[in-house]
């Protein structure tokens, strides 16, 4: 039985309207393709608006010694050399042009005294490298890209969720989704599909991520047969709010430390002196997050289980100008004036280094016609991402994905797909309403986030990961029994039921990859394998669906050519 649906047709379908999706759409449009952009929220609300600190690009406006080689080296070192070297090279080389382009499209960055784009210091970056707009860089970026895309004429399908990719043999040729507003189904036919759906933070209890971050693109790609890689590497940002309870996990930008903020424990000690005496508060995020976690666990935490972060030694006017949204966020939500006293902060699940494996040049996945860029893709960041490298990632690889997707659309015809794929996708979505009784999706989600937080968190070990996996299997059984109340009209419970499926797939990939990697490296810390193991340092873990089941394999990390090795070996 076929259920009614509408059909839309484009050369290129972009799933996600954050920085990567919009940049991909702009590039595909510029190449003459017809482009549709699908997003779960309204246009301009994507998680990119939350990005605060800045865009990393070796423009050398503040530190003339900076260049792409230094940025490349910092990125590889931050990622503990598990990165795809070619992605890191392209990223470092192209980021400055992508920033200049934003400026030419109307973005207004903070300025140096000479009138150039101002750059600030950030963790793991040797030079002052982050182009920024106070602490609302992401908003500036999204608004600039949004206006550019609207002017160029992309079709935006707002509040629409994609639930399945359509395939023709081994290639992707479209997607099935539904309008959140009316609950009606829609089929997108496209010659190429770009995934730009971001990360998976909503599988953890304490997270800086919005409701949209449910691993959709990773799960869609996995279901279509694409490879995922580096799934064990989940970034916990060291500084999220810890109090009051409602804002737990909310991001406190690294720019606070970039502008001179200092971490202290309950005893007033600058504890980073013990964890990274050289870089101190501006060490990489994996190191700082573990340091705060350890301080709290060993009894030196603050009243609400965090560390103090203090910028009040700087003049109040300076703090308000450089960190305006932090100032308001703490004043309004936590009754703390950060120009007068310290903030309380603790680690919060923030970013997924892992994701869909892509080709460095084209951002194409292992499935023909399917591309992935930004948070949903993997490779650039390796075992740990440097702050500021995400916004530049979105622009550099968003553009490359859009370019390659449009080129492919120019040389292929539309695929043909079997109607049964659509029937399956719509039946799965409607099953939630058809059960006479069952559990609320919210209950299953709460339990999943508790499990991921306590068993697949910052510090991991075999026992925890195995019990985590057993629980994920239970949640999968419970998911089969979820019942959604109410109608199909803008029903958030229904949407969560669907998002949960993606979260369960990705959570399993994370836990299984974490169990497999028996060492500690970057953001992956095993208490039972506390050291880095050089043999593991040469391997990425790849996750793929084989005959309906999830399978893991190990792949050698690609070796950089000799000239890049020389750059990496420089002091």
């Amino acid at each position: 039985m076929s259920r009614p649906y509408e059909t839309r047709e484009h050369d290129v379908l972009v799933v996600g309207a954050g920085g990567a999706g919009l940049r991909a759409a702009i590039e595909a449009l510029a190449r003459g393709a017809s482009v549709g952009v699908v997003c779960k929220s309204l246009l301009g609300k994507a998680h990119t608006v939350m990005a605060e600190g800045g865009i990393a690009a070796a423009m050398a406006n503040v530190d003339p010694a900076d260049d792409w080689r230094a940025h490349f080296r910092d990125t590889m070192r931050g990622g503990k050399f598990l990165n795809n070297w070619r992605m890191a090279q392209i990223h470092a080389q192209e980021a400055p042009d992508r920033v200049r382009e934003l400026e030419q499209w109307g973005a207004l960055f903070d300025r140096t005294a000479d009138g150039d784009i101002l750059q600030r210091a950030f963790g793991g970056h040797t030079f002052k490298r982050l182009c920024h707009v106070g602490d609302r860089t992401g908003l500036e970026m999204i608004r600039t890209l949004q206006d550019r895309g609207v002017q160029m004429g992309f079709h935006v399908y707002m509040e629409c969720a994609v639930t399945k990719l359509l395939t023709d043999g081994d290639r992707v040729c479209g997607a099935v989704g539904y309008w959140r507003e009316q609950g009606r189904f829609v089929v997108f036919r496209a010659k190429s599909v770009v995934l730009a759906t971001g990360g998976i933070g909503k599988a953890w209890k304490i997270t800086s991520n919005s409701w949209e971050y449910t691993g959709d693109g990773m799960a869609l790609a996995f279901d279509a047969g694409a490879e995922l890689v580096d799934m064990e590497f989940v970034q916990f940002h060291p500084t999220g709010m810890v109090w009051p309870p409602g804002v737990q996990g909310l991001l406190v930008t690294e720019a606070v430390r970039g502008e001179g903020g200092v971490l202290r424990n309950r005893l007033g000690e600058r504890f980073m002196e013990r964890y990274d005496p050289e870089k101190l508060d501006l060490s990489t995020r994996d190191v700082v997050a573990r340091a705060i976690y350890t301080e709290v666990r060993e009894g030196r935490g603050t009243e609400h289980g965090g560390a103090f972060l203090d910028i009040s030694q700087k003049p109040a006017e300076y703090v308000k100008r450089k960190l305006p949204s932090m100032y308001h966020q703490f004043l309004e939500l936590a009754d703390v004036d950060i120009t007068k006293g310290p903030m309380e902060v603790g680690p919060t699940c923030h970013y997924m280094m892992g994701g869909v494996r892509v080709d460095a040049e084209t951002a194409e996945t292992s499935v023909p016609g399917l591309y992935a860029a930004g948070g949903v893709a993997a490779g650039l960041h390796g075992a740990n991402r440097l702050g500021g490298n995400s916004l530049s990632d979105l622009l550099v690889f968003g553009r490359r994905a859009g370019l390659a997707a449009a080129e492919r659309a120019g040389r292929t015809g539309p695929g043909a797909f079997d109607e049964r794929q659509i029937d399956e996708a719509t039946a799965e979505m409607l099953a939630f309403f058809e059960r006479p009784d069952g559990e609320s999706p919210y209950a299953v989600h709460r339990d999943l986030t508790e499990t991921m937080q306590s068993l697949v968190g910052i510090f991991r070990n075999r026992d925890d990961l195995e019990s985590g996996l057993a629980k994920i299997r239970e949640f999968r059984d419970r998911w089969d029994r979820i019942r959604v109340e109410g109608s199909r009209l803008f029903n958030p419970g229904w949407h969560l039921a669907r998002d949960l499926k993606a979260m369960l797939t990705v959570s399993e990939a994370v836990a299984r990859s974490a169990l497999r990697r028996e060492e500690s490296r970057g953001a992956h810390s095993r208490t039972d394998f506390a050291r880095s193991d050089p043999t593991w340092g040469k391997k990425n873990i790849v996750v793929k669906r084989v005959g309906g089941a999830m399978e893991l394999s190990e792949r050698p990390v690609p070796e950089p050519p000799p000239d890049l090795k020389t750059i990496l070996e420089a002091p």
Binding site: M50, G106, V150, Y442, P492
Partner: protein
């Protein structure tokens, strides 16, 4: 544990009613936390828009006790404890469901505005002081609370003739961009109906980003429209010396 009583609008464009929910109160709780509690435990189909929960995305706009607010920034302890908290959708836009309204009209207005158009031969140097003025407007998170509260839209429904404060802020950001070379005064006068605004400052009052919409955006734009269309001397001077100022 302390409890709060919320009365939340449930319904569609065809009508609805206020439904009462009891929600446990935690320290520092905001109205959006209460709405999430209702979704999680009492009414899983309660329709609410939200994204960042940090006042940065402008999704969770609604009216709390009749005042247009971001629910993520409205502390429960800032509201009177002796009566129910009434949460209703933005009044100026058609209800889709519960607290979710159809704001698509705003996206249509936005499409009318010509984009940033850099002057030929610019060297892309700008001073912070010049940028500061525009960055105030660029802070806008498009929560549309200013549109919701503006009487031209809210009470008189002039959506065809009027662009609303959000888009005056957007045009101001373009007009005052240090490197922009275009004039949009004709658009302001003829398509966005700037003249309908009688500077009651309601928009400025509700702006969660504290943008001085009336003083810094609307009034200077009104002056530019007057210069361009009603001041013959200025018109003549422009003909002689060229058009654009920043």
């Amino acid at each position: 544990m302390k409890e709060a009583v919320l009365r939340v609008f449930r319904g569609t464009a065809d009508g609805g009613e206020l439904v009462e929910y009891r929600v446990p109160v935690a320290p520092g709780m905001v109205v959006l936390d209460a709405l999430h509690h209702i979704q999680g435990y009492l009414a899983p189909d309660l329709a609410v828009r939200w994204n960042c929960k940090a006042g940065k995305c402008g999704s969770c706009s609604a009216e709390v006790n009749g005042r247009p607010r971001l629910t993520c920034k409205t502390r429960m302890d800032s509201l009177p404890a002796d009566r129910p908290i009434v949460v209703t959708p933005m009044k100026a836009f058609p209800v889709l469901r519960d607290l979710v309204t159809d704001v698509s009209w705003n996206y249509e207005v936005n499409r009318k505005i010509p984009p940033f158009s850099p002057r030929a031969g610019t060297d892309w140097k700008m001073s912070q002081a010049d940028v500061d003025r525009v960055q105030e407007f660029r802070k806008c998170i498009e929560c549309f609370l200013c549109q919701n509260v503006c009487h031209v839209l809210r009470d008189h429904g002039k959506k065809r003739e009027f662009g609303g404060p959000r888009f005056f802020v957007r045009v101001a950001a373009l007009e005052m961009h240090p490197l922009d070379g275009l004039s949009r005064t004709k658009l302001l006068k003829e398509e966005l109906g700037l003249g309908y605004c009688n500077i009651t400052k309601c928009c400025t009052e509700v702006c969660p980003e504290d943008i001085h919409i009336t003083d810094n955006a609307i009034i200077p734009l009104k002056e530019r429209v007057i210069d361009d269309f009603y001041d013959p001397l200025a018109k003549l001077l422009r003909k002689v010396f060229g058009r654009k100022r920043t």
